[in-house]
Amino acid sequence: MSEHSTYVPGNAVEKWLDDRLPVVRFAKAHLMDFPTPKNLNYWWTFGAILVMCLGVQIVTGIILAMHYTPNTALAFDSVEHIRRNVSGGRVIQATHAVGASMFFVALYVHMFRGLYYGSYKAPREILWILGVLIFILTMATAFMGYILPWGQMSFWGATVISNIFTAIPLVGENIKQLVLGGFAVGNPTLNRFFSLHYLLPFVIAAVVALHIWALHVPGNNNPVGVEVKDSRDTIPFHPYYTMKDLFAMVLFMIPFAWFIFFAPDILGHPDNYIMANSQVTPAHIVPEWYLLPFYTILRAIDFNVLFIDSKLGGVIAMGGAMVMLLVVPWLDTSKVRSGNFRPMFKWFYWLFVINFIGLMYLGAQPAEGIYTVLAKVCTAYYFVYFLIVLPVLSRIETPKPLPTSISESVLGKNAHA
């Protein structure tokens, strides 16, 4: 871990500390001197943006927990109390709610960047898998957080999603009761979701630390996808990428602030301003936008396959959609990482992006008519992309010639410009 270290303790105190806990040496090696490819584009700033998002959610979340009451009788009003009475509460609460959406915007950009530039390929499989783990943990955290305001969508979202467990043969009903702490969503559910919603972000932070560790072993991938050859290919992380990342963070804060201050409720659903009522279901139950693609896949399976009924089939498909992400390093065996040098891959990739947006759109539509057909088509392509397109392309595609090094590609680009 300290092979890049150039740290020389400046005085006796630093030396004393360095002999016992080389934290300054570590920070210098990994946060400042770390050799980073010089050709990273702005899509690479989303990692830092995600760290910021996690920080914002944790800080605002700790504050909200100081004023919030996890009790079915009081939760809804306590969130309103935060908005109305706590100093700056309207903005802090809006930051947390909008922040969840912004977190997923950055998360999806970060993942699609990885998919395009082949960042999951050897030797970065563990790095990628840890990232998928963070994605799943973040979805779970966001889902539980959405229950806490105890509005209609909170309650019915929890009801619908917890019923997923009943699809499991034999023990499904028991698992559901175990998760909910009752026969239906109620006060025990709210309390434990609050507890877990508070805990999981710190678990995520720990996995992020592993993710960055796994990043710093092979070093960054880059838009060309050619490994770093020598020091001419890299620049120190600080000040070059710290500055670039900070700039990107500030840019990212602009739409963030727009939503917080001028449209704080537009990303939510009006029904969540009605307190939870176990006797009335809203006309449409829609999860938050960032869960919609997977929700569509869950709903798309409305037919039985052999002994698997449609409900279990949907759950398997949704779980499978995440498993695809976990195993993609072994499905795409092409030696070329960057999509820039893969003429056929590019087309399928962008179709996959559009398909994913389609899945997102369909999740918010009623499951009827043309929408159910489209949902099946889009779900099918999601799996085809991973299970057929990527493995086949790896065999038949002729990639464009790769530059021999990063510095060569940089010089070539600038010569053309």
Binding site: R90, F247, G268, P270, Y273, M360, N414
Partner: protein
């Protein structure tokens, strides 16, 4: 190439964010959007309108609808109807609130107290209202919305349109018919104790038309100006008041927002210049 990637990414964000648009008013007629003083990024509440809306609420709505998150003191806070402290104290004293430490368990309200609900419980309300529960008004304006047809809701993310609730409430107030109109869905039958409304989902609403022209008397303004005493005007005023109840810090929130966006614009510019300077010697 690079541009097209940005466009696709932007599209992904927009479509993703907007697929959960407001859909509370489906099953009703299309709703006419109103020109609210608090709409848009520069919008602020009209104090006179809020005071009129409060009058309509108090004289008409409050006999059945509660607003349990509103405290009397809110009525004198900046950005709202901003009655004087003496007015609010006098108003509060007209109401009784439960207080276990007081003689007889009730005492006159003070500004710190919440608006008392007209019924002791939801069940009492249902029993009194023939089974229909009059919803609490505290956040009702944000619990309703209007659906814009595809793709127009996309623009809402850029205009910050948040006035679907007031639009719906105003429409509901002007949407009553004395009898089932020819525009009703085929085979529509109105039940007992129900009324036909163009904009209510399903058209059959349990609330009798609460307002009629002239039913609330507005005091003329200090300069002698008058406001029409019509259902349309009452509807607008009470919808504006309900929006304020649901979002009392709207004005200060937007003011802070301007400062924040201006700051971020300036800071982003400086950051960009710094970043460029720093990278000037690097081929990348």
């Amino acid at each position: 190439m690079f541009k097209s990637k940005f466009i696709i990414a932007a599209l992904a964000v927009v479509v993703g964010l907007s697929s959960v648009s407001a859909q509370a008013a489906e099953g009703g007629a299309p709703i006419q959007k109103q020109n609210w003083s608090f709409g848009g990024i520069f919008g602020t509440y009209d104090q006179n309108q809020l005071q009129r809306g409060f009058q309509v609420f108090r004289e008409v709505c409050a006999s059945c609808h509660g607003a349990h998150l509103i405290a009397f003191r809110n009525l004198m806070e900046p950005g709202g109807p901003q009655f004087s402290e003496a007015q609010v104290r006098a108003l509060a004293a007209e109401y009784e609130v439960a207080d276990p430490t007081a003689d007889g368990g009730v005492r006159p309200a003070v500004p710190a107290d919440r608006w008392p609900s007209p019924f002791a419980s939801d069940q009492d309300a249902r029993d009194a209202m023939g089974g229909a529960l009059p919803p609490d008004f505290s956040v009702l304006a944000k619990a309703r919305g209007v659906t814009d047809p595809f793709p127009w809701w996309v623009t809402n993310y850029f205009t910050g349109y948040q006035e679907g609730g007031p639009d719906y409430i105003h429409a509901l107030m002007i949407g009553y018919h004395e009898e089932v109109p020819p525009t009703a869905p085929e085979g529509f039958v109105l039940g007992d104790g129900q009324y036909y409304n163009d904009y209510f989902p399903g058209h059959a609403i349990g609330m009798a038309p609460p307002l009629s022209d002239g039913s609330v008397t507005y005091e003329p303004g200090e300069d002698g100006s008058t406001v029409p005493e019509t259902v349309d005007q009452y509807g607008k005023d009470v919808a504006a008041f309900m929006m304020w109840m649901a979002e009392p810090h709207l004005v200060s929130r937007k003011q802070t927002g301007f400062a924040v966006l201006l700051f971020l614009g300036l800071f982003a510019g400086l950051m960009y210049a710094t970043k460029r300077k720093l990278w000037a010697g690097i081929e990348h």
